[in-house]
């Protein structure tokens, strides 16, 4: 089947196209042509050859030392620990994401490497050991002094700047992971039929669609129909 045929089978319109995208295709069609399938990771994520080569090159390099990675892991789980709803940052692969992103966006490298050194020096001065060897209480004593940038004392300012950066990266790493998206309750990125804000939500917010909006807007059952301009006047 050539691509044009594939497209024809895909564009059956309406809600049905959604089912197609989930891979619910007639049996006589070859599986690889039931495009697109969200779960199909075998083909990468739509890279050009140059982009794929760049990913491979970055993946072949190592930036952080073992000690640095261990420290990042400690910080990541302080920033996003596990709770009843979801796992922790390390369970979501956040340190591995941070290792990749500093190779991808090199301006993170010096601030993070230097920030980790800053932190070990701070814990060394306070407790005579590196962060990874500190107790939970000792780690928290340091973190709480640099986690609130508006209140940080001048001597620890650089620590707070570093902490904001790694907090950003941990938050992003966690909430763009499979665990994080589930935790967040994001339920999109899937074929859908949008018919407006659910009524209970509208009610809760004291909002309503006015007559004009209701009249003009697309009705889900009409989506598969081909538009007829017969009685349409501009």
């Amino acid at each position: 089947m050539d691509r044009r045929e594939t497209i024809k089978t895909l564009v059956i319109g309406g809600v049905a196209s959604g089912f197609m995208l989930h891979g619910c295709v007639p049996v006589e069609e070859k599986k690889e042509e039931a495009t697109p399938q969200p779960a199909d990771n075998g083909k990468g994520y739509g890279r050009t050859p140059e982009e794929a080569a760049r990913d491979a090159e970055l993946n072949g390099k190592t930036f952080f030392t073992e000690h640095e990675m261990a420290t990042i892991a400690v910080l990541a789980d302080i920033i996003i620990p596990a709770d009843d709803t979801s796992g922790s940052a390390t369970e979501a692969g956040v340190p591995e994401f941070i290792e990749f992103i500093v190779k991808d966006i090199p301006e993170h490298q010096v601030p993070l490497r230097g920030g980790l050194m800053w932190l070990d020096r701070e814990s060394g001065q306070r407790y005579n050991k590196q962060i990874v060897s500190c107790s939970a209480e000792e780690r928290e004593n340091i973190v709480k002094d640099i986690a609130y940038p508006e209140e940080v004392i001048p001597e620890l300012k650089q620590g707070a700047v570093f902490f904001s950066r790694i907090r950003n990266l941990v938050a992003t790493g966690f909430y763009t992971s499979q665990i994080g998206i589930k935790d967040l309750g994001y339920v999109g990125n899937t074929p859908n039929v949008w018919d407006g804000v659910p009524q209970d939500v509208l009610d809760k917010h004291g909002m309503a669609y006015d007559e004009k909006m209701l009249q003009n807007s697309i009705k889900p059952e009409d989506r598969g129909e081909i538009m007829d301009w017969e009685n349409y006047n501009v």
């Binding site: 691509r3 594939t6 497209i7 024809k8 564009v11 319109g13 309406g14 196209s17 495009t35 697109p36 399938q37 969200p38 083909k43 994520y45 739509g46 050009t48 990913d55 970055l58 993946n59 920033i79 620990p81 709770d83 994401f97 992103i101 966006i105 709480k144 986690a147 940038p149 508006e150 904001s164 907090r167 950003n168 992003t172 966690f174 909430y175 763009t176 992971s177 499979q178 998206i181 967040l184 309750g185 994001y186 339920v187 999109g188 990125n189 899937t190 074929p191 859908n192 039929v193 949008w194 804000v197 917010h205 004009k212 003009n216 807007s217 697309i218 009409d222 081909i226 538009m227 301009w229």
Partner: protein, 580 residues
């Protein structure tokens, strides 16, 4: 190996340079009319339905950088091969001036990722000089283009509502989607301060228009290009059907160097570099249509020097590259406290805003600037990507926590995790997109010292904003704050002041650059005539944004499409009459 230019043996009726909105439309109309066409594209083939290229419905974790904009400026999943900088294809800027040039090297060009905002120019937009004495009028008016807007609406599809607003002409609209929750909040606030919000007008199929393209399934990812062709991309909507006529030969990875001419000065074809074998080729055609984008077309024309055209092709006016202008842009973010801890549901919707604000002050004379802007909006419970959760320390100290008490900005641990959940979907943004006044001294020219990796001389940009645009940006920020306060929101970040031009984006940043081959009736003050035909070279047309005399505050694509169709109809007739 000796240097040899390879010649394509076939002579085409028409060679079209560029496969974006203008080139795609010309290819579609003219191939249907039976002309033999060579369609030149500087990038690779692209089809959003090709699983190898598809990014639609991918998850952030499929990208090791979680969709960050390191490789593609608008993120890993954005469907633009290219960006502000392209390896080996530099451009330069005059010191003290700014211009950022976005290029997509792929079939369909930038239409694969654009915002699908499809606004017609209104009657005023073609004749602004009549009202403010600035810039120039177009030689044509709304009534000349209206029939083509109508045809484009029906052929390509655009949703919207008939509103009967004088300078925002209605069209053949598909039904729009219902507004999202944050859009209802913004509308309520905007209304109170006299800022209108109406359903947006996007070329997305909320309903089918033919049996070749699927209806939108509301994934909010038009920027990734739609695999069921539920939105407009030139590649899938125009080039594909053009190819089906059997009249089009598509040359991909073909970087056009210049338009070739004969002794009489008529165009005879093009020369191009094949990026795959890095050899130089020539291709013969009876007519050449430039559609490479405003700046790329200007570059090719300026590089096409000959005895008959010593100043570059179609450039006896010396205006090729001049009057370059982009939309203005400024933006602000806000927080809607009522949306904290909101209930989750799928509110992806279409790929873009469901409501927007058209320019509402055409009758105001004392604003300090004379051209308008529209406002675009974003917000809601979108799919997280790189950047999600950044800057919580700038937000969570601004509103009381669940316990009603203010808390220290920043944090860590379960409290921080809960804040990320709490603030999700509660932020939104507003962006003004305004009309700038085209000026001759904003331009691009050939840099005498620099070539790209194909040996082709590159563009040098000279562009400065004037007070007209700065004051407009200042007004945008006044409006943003008024609306945000009126809706009970909190403006985030700092309001930019005079020292940063009121947050006015660099020229080029809105990617609406037009004007470099402007149209007019007088060959001394314009490059092409009212049918996009070069004054100097009858068998040369330009159908991208180059011929725009001014760009309104409207996104240019719909007008590019309408004018390209109109020019193609004219060309058809002229060829029939043997005038070309």
């Amino acid at each position: 190996m000796s240097f040899q230019i390879k010649e394509q043996t076939k002579t085409y009726d028409i060679c079209i340079v560029g496969s974006g909105a203008g080139g795609g439309m010309a290819a579609h109309v003219l191939s249907e009319a039976g002309f033999k066409i060579a369609l030149m594209e500087a990038g690779p083939h692209f089809d959003p339905a090709n699983a190898e290229q598809r990014t639609q419905l991918r998850w952030p974790w499929e990208s090791p950088r979680r969709g960050a904009g390191t490789v593609r400026p608008f993120g890993d999943f954005d469907m633009a091969y290219g960006g502000w900088e392209i390896d080996g294809e530099p451009y330069t800027k005059e010191q003290g001036t700014e211009f950022d040039w976005f290029r997509s090297r792929m079939l369909g060009g930038r239409t694969n990722h654009w915002g699908r905002i499809s606004l017609r120019f209104g009657p005023l937009d073609f004749k602004r000089k009549d009202f403010d004495g600035k810039g120039d009028n177009w030689p044509i008016g709304y009534d000349d283009v209206k029939p083509y807007y109508d045809k484009v609406d029906k052929m390509i599809g655009v949703f919207g509502t008939r509103e009967n607003i004088p300078n925002e002409p209605d069209g053949y609209f598909l039904p729009p989607p219902k507004p999202r929750l944050h859009e209802l909040y913004i509308k309520k606030g905007a209304q109170k301060v006299g800022v209108p919000m109406i359903p947006s007008r996007l070329s997305i199929l909320t309903k089918r228009i033919n049996n070749k393209r699927g209806a939108c399934f509301f994934c909010n990812q038009c920027s990734r290009s739609c695999s069921v062709y539920g939105d407009f991309s030139s590649s899938s909507v125009l080039v594909n059907p053009a190819m089906e006529t059997g009249n089009v030969d598509l040359y991909v990875n073909a970087m056009v160097r210049e338009v070739l001419t004969n002794d009489e000065g008529r165009a005879t074809g093009v020369s191009y570099v094949n990026k795959e074998d890095l050899q130089e080729y020539t291709l013969k055609a009876k007519v050449v249509i430039m559609a490479a984008s405003a700046c790329s077309s200007a570059r090719i024309l300026l590089n096409s020097k000959s005895a008959a055209h010593p100043n570059g092709l179609a450039n006896s006016s010396d205006l090729v590259g001049k009057y370059l202008h982009d939309s203005t842009g400024a933006s602000r973010m806000g927080l809607i406290p009522s949306l904290l801890d909101r209930k989750r549901y799928n509110e992806d919707g279409v790929g873009g805003m469901h409501l927007y604000t058209p320019w509402w002050l055409n009758d105001s004379k004392n604003l300090g600037f004379t051209r308008g802007y529209h406002i675009e909006y974003w917000g809601g419970m979108g799919m997280p990507a790189y950047g999600f959760g950044f800057g919580m320390e700038k937000m969570n100290g601004q509103v009381p926590g669940k316990d009603g008490k203010m808390k220290k900005a920043g944090g860590y641990g379960l409290d921080f995790k809960n804040d990320l959940r709490r603030f999700y979907g509660a932020t939104f943004g507003m962006a003004g997109r305004g009309e700038s006044i085209p000026r001759k001294d904003n331009f691009c020219e050939i840099d005498q010292n620099v070539v790209d990796k194909y040996g082709i001389p590159v563009l040098k940009f000279h562009y400065k904003w004037s007070d007209e645009e700065r004051k407009q940006a200042q007004h945008m920020h006044d409006t943003f704050e008024e609306v945000i306060h009126s809706m009970g929101g909190i403006a985030l970040g700092d309001r930019p002041g005079a020292e940063t031009d009121y947050g006015l984006e660099n020229p080029g940043r809105i990617i609406h650059e037009v004007g470099t081959t402007r149209m007019g009736d007088d060959p001394k003050t314009s490059v092409v005539n009212r049918y996009n035909q070069a004054h100097d070279v009858p068998n040369l047309f330009v159908v991208d944004g180059g011929p725009f005399v001014s760009q309104a505050d409207k996104n240019p694509t719909w007008t590019i499409l309408a004018l390209a169709w109109r020019a193609s109809d004219y060309l058809k007739e002229e060829m029939k009459r043997m005038n070309i």
